[in-house]
Structure formats: C-alpha cells, structure tokens
C-alpha cells in the first residue's frame, strides 16, 4: 500500500497530465456533433448576440454587392417563371392542388457569424426553431451551395460550412450527369475536390458542377462551382478540382432549403434497404 502511494506521489504530475488529456479527448468525442452540449448552448446565445451587432455594421458596406446579386437572381427567377407556365403536367391523376410538385420550401436568412480560416468552419444564421428551421436543412446563397444546418436554438441556427473537413456533398457534372462526392481539401476557400468520377468520363475545363439531389437536402441542379481542369488520377477514380461559385469570404444573404417530402422519402429508403 505504501509503495503504491509512493508511486502515485512520485508520478503525480504525469498521472494528472494523462487524466486531463483523457478528459479533453472524451469532451472532443462526446461533442462530436458540435452543438449538443448545454454549456455551449449558453455561450452560443451570447456570442450570437454579439456577432449580430457587429454584423449590422459590416453589412452596410456590402449593400452594393448584395444588390447586384439580387437583381441577377430576380432575372433568373423571372425567366424560370416563364418556363413553368409552359410546362406540362406529368401526373396520372389530375388533382387540383397547388402544392403538387412542390417539394422544397425556402426561407431567407442572414449570416451573423462566419469563418473561412479554420479546418472546420461553421456559419451562424439569424433564423432558428422559432422560424421553423430544423437540423438537416440545406443552406444556399444565390450563387450556390453553402452548407447544412447542424444545430438549432430558438433564434439562431448553426450550419456546417462547405468549407469544413467533415462536409460531403453529392454533386454531379451538369453536362453528362456523372455524380461524385464533393469535399473541401482544407487549403483554399475558393476550391474543393470532386472525387469518385470514373476514368472514362470526358471532362472539360469550365464544366458546371451542380447538386445531384440524391441526398434530399438540396434540390437537384443547384450550382456548386466549375471545373478548373486540374485533375488527379488515383486508383479507380478521378479527383477533379472545382472552383466554388460561392465566395465564402463575403457571404451575407443566404436561404434555407427545407425538403417537404424528405421524411417520406427517407422512411421508404430505409424500409426497402433494411
């Protein structure tokens, strides 16, 4: 017993060191989904409040740029509206319901906190559960995909940015519909990598990359970026360098995308594949 005590006393610093590191690691792993700790929720409310005040000031200087983007988006939407009027109904039954065929709903939101300089970047938005935001909703700006909501409080929500080492997106080449997995390489905030594209696919510089719609988070065809032409051959697949269409460094206005049928689709997929 005495020798055990002596041992503990002699190595008390080392033992304390190991205990504290173990506690830190447990904290890291248990808070893996980032937002779930109660303590963090409190800090979030405080820092969200501060960030909102700071943002109110900086937003003013971006107005010109935001205006330009909005005008461009208006024109795009107007032209799409024209096309829709001419479209044909593709249903077996005729049901007089304006919601048929609508599978996504949109909600505009402001970015109140954003970072691009870490390996795991997150974006705080000024919309929360009070406005109907739930986990798993997509976030996009008028220029393209931004991220996915991972945490919600009554007034704020936190989205995992595309510029996050853990982020994966099912994306396809618009011209020939081959799909792969898009991830950030952690190096530049302007570029990401589209992998799992088969060797025989012909690609050209400037090809548009869009969302594939396979995940039910984003609708198909949402802009992600363009190919730069740089590619890496490794194993059975190609990895392509993608220039992102969204400039994360000046993100102000985004919209949240809620899928109305996601649950039904998810349940069906689980039921069948089980």
């Amino acid at each position: 017993m005495r020798s055990l005590l002596n041992f503990l006393l002699r190595f008390r610093t080392l033992i304390l060191f190991l205990i504290l590191e173990a506690v830190a690691l447990v904290l890291i792993f248990s808070s893996h989904s980032y937002h779930q700790t109660v303590a963090y929720g409190a800090a979030r409310t405080v820092s969200g409040f501060v960030a909102k005040r700071i943002n109110a000031g900086t937003n003013y200087f971006r107005l010109r740029h935001v205006n330009e983007e909005l005008v461009a988006e208006n024109i795009m939407l107007r032209s799409r509206l024209e096309q829709m009027g001419a479209g044909m109904q593709e249903h077996f039954l005729t049901v007089d319901d304006s919601l048929i065929g609508v599978s996504y709903s949109y909600l505009e939101a402001k970015v109140v906190n954003n970072s691009i300089n870490k390996q795991k970047n997150f974006i705080t938005l000024d919309r929360g559960s009070r406005h109907g935001v739930t986990r798993g909703m997509g976030v996009a700006s008028s220029t393209g995909v931004v991220g996915v909501v991972v945490g919600v409080s009554p007034r704020y929500s936190v989205a995992m940015s595309l510029l996050n080492a853990d982020f994966r997106l099912s994306a396809s080449i618009a011209r020939n519909d081959y799909f792969g997995s898009l991830a950030w390489d952690g190096i530049s905030h302007r570029y990401a990598t589209l992998s799992e594209i088969p060797h025989h696919v012909r690609i050209t510089e400037g090809d548009t990359i869009v969302t594939s719609g396979y995940s039910a988070i984003f609708p198909a065809g949402l802009l992600v970026g363009t190919l730069t032409g740089e590619q890496e051959r490794g194993g059975d697949f190609l990895s392509l360098n993608v220039m992102l269409s969204t400039d994360f460094k000046r993100l102000t206005n985004v919209f949240l995308i809620g899928s109305l049928n996601r649950e039904e689709r998810h349940n069906l997929e689980v039921e069948v594949t089980r």
Partner: protein, 167 residues
C-alpha cells in the same frame, strides 16, 4: 492575493484579445495565432506542476466554450503546460533569484525568452492543429500551418511582453 488578481487580470485580457481580435485573423487559413497561450508562459517559476496543469486545462476549456470546439484547446493547453517545466529546466539561467517572479523578456533576456516561447507555442499549436483535424493525412500542409502560426503567435507574445507592466 495580489498575484491572484494580477494573473486573473492577465487571463481575462488575453481571452478578450483572442476572442475578439485574433480569432478573426484571416490569412488564407494558414495563420491562426493563439496568443492566449501567453497565460501559461507567464505563470511564475515556482508554480507547482500539478497546479500549472489544472490552470492550463481551465484556460483551454474557457477558449473552447467560446469557440465551439469543446476539448480541442484544453488538450493543447494541457500539453503545453506539461512541457513547460521541462523546457524551463532545459534552459534555465542562473539569474533566477526570485522563484516567485514570472518568466519575462525584461529579466531573462530576448534570446532566452524567444526560445522558451517558441518551443511552448510550437508544442501547443502542433497538438492543437492535429487534434482539431484528428488525422495525419495532409500532414505537411498541417505542419506548414503550425509553423506559420507559431511564428506569428511568438511575435505577438514577445510584443505583448515588451509592453506589459513590470511587476
């Protein structure tokens, strides 16, 4: 008691600087200075190592709570707190007459303080960036980020030590 309020003040000041200014430095993702490590550096020579570890853990945890990375900074600060006594014994100078004083540029000289700071900061940044990513893939990219951030952090810590009140 006087010491207690002095170090608490230093801690709060460093925390505010870190969260409001240094967390927002953007240099294409390569430079992330974490100057709050200075708190661990300036604790007095005579501090018992177990107490140093606990303070290091708490300071890391405080940064974690405000930047949403629970455990990551705590891991790195404990690592820094663990190596600090070793580095002190490695290049301690005979000039340490009062063990209650804190290591500083003014008393220990630029050369000594630089090597002391740069080693502790490097250990902190290396463990921080590796634990943050939890992978060794792209190791040299991470190492480059560690080195660049270490240089910038060291620069600011030496600058702050230059202007900090001398007891």
């Amino acid at each position: 008691m006087k010491n207690f309020s002095r170090y608490t003040g230093a801690f709060v000041l460093l925390m505010v600087l870190q969260l409001l200014i240094f967390n927002n430095i953007e240099f294409s993702g390569y430079v992330n200075p974490y100057i709050y490590v200075m708190f661990i550096l300036i604790l007095p020579f005579s501090i018992p190592s177990w107490f140093l570890l606990i303070l290091a853990f708490l300071s890391g945890l405080a940064v974690d709570l405000f930047s949403g990375t629970l455990g990551v900074h705590a891991f790195a600060t404990v690592m820094a707190g663990f190596v600090r006594p070793w580095i002190l014994t490695l290049n301690i100078t005979s000039e340490v007459t009062d063990p209650d004083m804190s290591p500083s540029l003014y008393r220990n000289g630029l050369r000594w303080f630089f090597f002391y700071t740069v080693t502790v900061v490097f250990v902190h940044h290396l463990s921080l960036f590796l634990v943050e990513l939890f992978t060794f893939s792209n190791f040299f990219h991470t190492l480059l980020r560690v080195l660049l951030s270490t240089v910038v952090t060291t620069f600011f810590i030496i600058l702050f030590d230059f202007i900090r009140p001398r007891r």
